[in-house]
Symmetry: C2
Subunit: 237 residues, 2 copies
DNA sequence: CGTCTGGTTGATCTAGATCAACAGGAGTGG
DNA sequence: CCACTCCTGTTGATCTAGATCAACCAGACG
């Protein structure tokens, strides 16, 4: 983890308007800014570990963070990808429970840490903050339930295609020839962990959707050769 | 759905202290009581349907309610069982989104309906109410994520055994001989829908855990013949 | 009675897991 | 510079949990 970085300032943070802090006034922003610690982090580092006491929340300035759940016999699954502008760890902090998941850095990221006391201050001094956390929690819940339902009713293949579309929505762009492209931020192993599958199955899946002309993989580059067909197969859920 | 029932009174509602309304003062309780509509409902009826506009929240006085998620091609899964003392439908109401799931009555239930305006009043007049909803949402989220993770990492058999233990914690008692017993509130089809499996698979599962001496099934009665073995197999998650 | 619905069982099929081998970098150290 | 070792990813062979399809049974109910 890098040294603390003082070049970031909450009051002109580009992602602030998507976070719980969007309603803060000038003074509150100033104390937030004073309290926050900004860190540049690399893949493999963790923000917190499942089971640890919650000590604050983490705002993702840029990069990609994965929430991983470990069960008692060492299996694990990635249950959520969190990107720029999202706050992680709030559930444990606000419910005074240990973290239910670990948060691992998946791509080089810049993350601001806000310790418990400053979060409490903000909650106490600005009722909007609590409302924002409530909205955030409700949204996370509805996403989680829909992921859960999908895992109960759909095959790995369909969930894989769904994931590829989600990644396209988040990270997709058009290359110089106007082809829809994604550069995968995660490796095969992590795709598997997101789907509750094995990496070998992902390899085979990649192979077959490629043979069928749906997507073209080259390392981390994915070309969406027939997005309509993909959309059609997953039923645009 | 039965006629509205005026014998219930919020101020001495036995489940109120587990709900969002536990911090209301006398006056607030009185207006809540005036506004609420109490209904006795039977299996097969629904509280609301996925996709409908949210019009209020439902407090389950007694009984069991299931939240079911339908996907675009008609498949569905039960993603949550909600029992006595829980509030359902708050997420859609508070986020002004349509219901993300349908809520179906699974056993004869008594449910109080609180329409949007009274919920808004309470939220506006008592900051504790918002906090309670936040806590509720955070708890639901963490449960949902742990269910999701379980679905990604565990077999149907293990999840079935886990479900049987959850049902025991909620509904279990000792019979006249001191044997741990549950009377299943749901049928095989619903067990399957909770696990993302087929009813035939549940039948076979029941057969094998029975043959192995873990549980004994007789219709809806389940005898936990070797709870230690069950606990051991699921790793007490 | 017949008809329905919920549940069980049997036979068969298949998506995906598992186990094993191997290929291509990316370091790392001599 | 080469040899060696990780590490990620791919492929092949095989296995299995659970799905699917079909038959059947028992109780409920008009």
């Amino acid at each position: 983890m890098s040294q603390c970085d003082t070049t970031h300032d909450c009051s002109n943070c580009p992602t602030r308007h998507t976070t719980e802090w969007r309603d803060l006034d000038k003074n509150q922003l100033a104390s937030l800014n004073l309290a926050k610690r900004t860190h540049a982090m690399e893949p493999g580092e963790t923000l917190f570990l499942q089971g640890d006491e919650a000590d604050g929340v983490y705002c993702i300035q840029s990069g990609l963070v994965g929430l991983r759940y470990f069960d008692e016999d060492g299996n694990s699954a990635l249950i959520r990808l969190c990107g720029t502008g999202t706050t992680v760890g709030y559930g444990a902090l606000l419910s005074k429970q240990p973290y239910a998941t670990s948060a691992e850095i998946l791509t080089p990221s810049v993350v601001c840490f806000l310790k418990r006391s400053i979060v409490s201050d903000m909650l106490a001094n600005n009722p909007k903050v609590g409302e924002r956390f409530l909205q955030h929690s409700i949204r996370d819940l509805s996403e989680s339930e829909s992921d859960y339902a999908r895992s109960l009713t759909k095959t790995v293949r369909l969930r894989f295609l769904h994931l590829m579309m989600v990644l396209y929505e988040r990270l997709g762009y058009l290359d110089e020839n106007g082809n829809p492209i994604v550069e995968l931020p995660i490796m095969r192993r992590e795709i598997a962990d997101l789907l509750g599958a094995q990496p070998e199955s992902i390899s085979r899946l990649i192979r077959s959707v490629q043979d069928e002309g749906l997507l073209k993989f080259d390392g981390k580059m994915v070309l969406y050769s027939d997005m309509d067909k993909v959309q059609h197969e997953i039923g645009t859920s």
